[in-house]
C-alpha cells in the first residue's frame, strides 16, 4: 500500500486494484447512455413528426378532435419529463413500477427506460424545432408536385431536419453520459456507483474520483468527435462533376463547390 500523502502512487494502486470495476462501470454508463439516446431519439422523431402534422380543411372533425387529444397527451409527457429532475424520475419510475404493477426491473433496464423517456421529451422538442426550421418553400414545392404530407416528410423534410438537429442530438448524448450518474440512487452499477464502491474501501475519495473524472471526459470527448465526423459526412459532397462541355462533350470537370 502506498504512503498516505503520495498522490500518484495511490492513483496507480487504485487503478491496479479496481480497474475491472471502473471498466464495468464505464461500460454500463456507455450502454445506458447510448441506448437511452437512440431510443429517446426515436421517441423524439415520432412525437416531433406527429406534432407537426398540419391540421387543415381536408381533415374531418372527428380526426381533428382525436388529433388534438393525442397532441395534448404528448404535450403533457414532454412538459412533465422536462420539468422534473431525472434523479426524481428514476426513484418514481423504479419504485412506482414495483409498487403498482409488481414488476421488479433490473436496475440496468430501469436506467435505460428512464434515460430513454427523459431524452425522448427533450428530443421531441428538438425534432419539432428542426422540422419548423425548414423553409416553408420546401413543403410547398413538394406539395405542388403532388406529394402527400407523408411523402414530403420522408423524402424532403426529415433528411434536412435530422441533419440540422445532429449537433443538438450529440449534445443530448453527452448529457446522458454524464447524467447517468444520478442512476446510482437506484443502484445501477454505472461508473459513479462503481467509483463510490471503490472509494469506500480505502476512503480515498479524491483519488478515485480523479480517475472517474478522466474516464468520463474520455468518453464524452470521443463521442463528440465521432458525431462531429458524422455531421461533416452528412453535409454532402462539396464537389460535383460537370458532365460534358460545349466543345468537348466527353470531357469531365471536377470543380470545387462554393462552401
Amino acid at each position: 500500500m502506498p504512503a498516505d500523502n503520495a498522490f500518484f502512487p495511490w492513483v496507480v494502486f487504485i487503478l491496479q486494484e479496481y480497474w475491472p470495476l471502473f471498466l464495468r462501470g464505464a461500460g454500463n454508463t456507455l450502454l445506458i447512455a447510448l441506448s437511452g439516446t437512440i431510443i429517446g431519439f426515436l421517441i423524439g422523431v415520432i412525437i416531433g413528426v406527429i406534432r407537426t402534422i398540419p391540421i387543415d380543411h381536408t381533415i374531418s372533425a372527428l380526426k381533428k378532435s382525436v388529433f388534438k387529444a393525442v397532441n395534448f397527451i404528448l404535450l403533457c409527457y414532454i412538459e412533465v419529463f422536462r420539468g422534473t429532475p431525472m434523479i426524481v424520475q428514476a426513484m418514481v419510475v423504479f419504485y412506482g413500477v414495483a409498487l403498482i404493477w409488481g414488476i421488479h426491473l433490473s436496475p440496468i433496464y430501469a436506467g435505460i427506460l428512464i434515460v430513454s423517456i427523459n431524452t425522448g421529451a427533450y428530443m421531441a422538442e428538438i425534432v419539432r424545432g428542426g422540422i419548423l426550421s425548414i423553409d416553408k418553400g420546401q413543403f410547398e414545392a413538394a406539395h405542388a408536385i403532388g406529394m402527400t404530407h407523408g411523402q414530403t416528410m420522408a423524402s424532403i423534410i426529415m433528411p434536412q431536419a435530422l441533419r440540422n438537429i445532429l449537433p443538438a442530438t450529440s449534445n443530448e448524448f453527452v448529457i446522458n453520459i454524464k447524467d447517468t450518474a444520478v442512476l446510482s440512487v437506484i443502484s445501477v452499477s454505472e461508473l459513479f456507483f462503481m467509483s463510490k464502491s471503490a472509494a469506500g474501501t480505502y476512503f480515498k475519495y479524491f483519488h478515485v474520483f480523479f480517475i472517474t473524472c478522466i474516464i468520463y471526459f474520455i468518453m464524452t470527448f470521443t463521442v463528440t468527435r465521432i458525431l462531429r465526423y458524422l455531421e461533416t459526412r452528412l453535409e454532402g459532397p462539396s464537389v460535383y462533376t460537370i458532365h460534358g462541355s460545349q466543345t468537348v462533350p466527353e470531357a469531365q470537370f471536377r470543380i470545387v463547390g462554393r462552401e
Binding site: 423553409d135 418553400g137 420546401q138 405542388a144 408536385i145 403532388g146 411523402q151 424532403i156 460535383y240 463547390g257
Partner: protein, 245 residues
C-alpha cells in the same frame, strides 16, 4: 377550344382581409396567359389558389369541367397535373439536380427510377442544365436553380404550368436565361399561366394578358389591347407607372 381551367366566383379571405373578391376566368389548352398588376393585387394568391397551396374561401375551380374543390378528386392527383414554378425556386436542398426532377415522378407518378431519370434528363437538357445533374442546389446560381425548377415541374408532364414571378428573385443578368427557356416552352404549345412583372415577356409571348387590381380582374384581353389601348383607366395608370418610371 378545350378549357383546361375555369374559375367561377373565386373568393379568398385571409382573416378580415379580402384578397380575391370575385374572380372569373378560364385558360384554354395551349394558351399563355400573363397576370400583371401591382403588388398586393392578389396575383400570387390567385395562382396559389389554382394549385390549392391556398384553399379558396368560396367559388369553383373547374379542371376539365370537374370542380376540384369537391372531394371527388384528390388534391395530390390534381396538383401533379398542375406544375408550379416559384419565385424562390424552392429546389429540394437535400437532393441533387437530377434527383430534384426524379423524386416526384417516382413518389407521385409511381414510375420506376430508370424511366424517371430518362424523363428528367430530357427536360434538364431542354432547359440547358444537363451538365449539372450531380450538383446540389447550393452549388448553382439563381438562374440555374430556376431552370432546374422548371425542369422539375416539366418532369411531372403537367397539363399546365403555373409561374409565380419566376424572375423576380434573380439578378438582372440571369433574368434573360430563364425568360428564354419560358419563351421556348410557350412556343412548344405548353399551357402556361405566368404572374410576372416582365412587361416585355407579357407583350411578346402571351396570348392573353390579365390585369388584376384590388382582388378583381380589371381587364382581360390580348396584349396588343392591354398595352396599346387599354379600356380600363386603372390598367392605363398601372402601365404608365411601370413602363415610364
Amino acid at each position: 377550344m378545350d378549357k383546361i381551367i375555369e374559375i367561377k366566383h373565386l373568393r379568398k379571405v385571409f382573416g378580415t382581409n379580402e384578397v380575391l373578391t370575385d374572380i372569373n376566368f378560364s385558360v384554354s389548352k395551349g394558351e399563355v396567359v400573363c397576370i400583371i398588376g401591382a403588388s398586393g393585387s392578389g396575383k400570387s394568391t390567385l395562382l396559389r389558389c389554382l394549385n390549392l397551396l391556398e384553399y379558396p374561401t368560396s367559388g369553383e375551380i373547374l379542371f376539365h369541367g370537374q370542380n376540384i374543390l369537391e372531394q371527388n378528386m384528390t388534391t395530390a392527383v390534381y396538383r401533379a397535373k398542375m406544375g408550379m414554378v416559384f419565385q424562390q425556386f424552392n429546389l429540394f436542398n437535400n437532393l441533387s439536380v437530377l434527383d430534384n426532377c426524379v423524386v416526384g415522378q417516382v413518389k407521385v407518378l409511381k414510375k420506376d427510377v430508370a424511366a424517371a431519370r430518362k424523363t428528367a434528363l430530357e427536360y434538364l437538357e431542354l432547359v440547358g442544365m444537363s451538365q449539372f445533374i450531380d450538383a446540389r442546389p447550393h452549388h448553382i446560381s439563381g438562374g440555374q436553380k430556376q431552370r432546374v425548377a422548371i425542369a422539375r415541374a416539366l418532369s411531372m408532364e403537367p397539363e399546365a404550368l403555373l409561374f409565380d414571378e419566376p424572375t423576380s428573385a434573380l439578378d438582372p443578368e440571369m433574368v434573360g436565361e430563364v425568360l428564354k427557356v419560358m419563351k421556348n416552352l410557350a412556343k412548344s404549345g405548353l399551357t402556361m399561366l405566368v404572374v410576372t412583372h416582365e412587361m416585355g415577356f407579357a407583350r411578346d409571348v402571351a396570348n392573353r394578358v390579365v390585369f388584376m387590381d384590388e382582388g378583381v380582374i380589371a381587364e382581360d384581353d390580348i396584349p396588343a389591347v392591354i398595352f396599346n389601348n387599354p379600356h380600363n383607366e386603372r390598367t392605363r395608370t398601372f402601365l404608365k407607372r411601370i413602363l415610364e418610371p
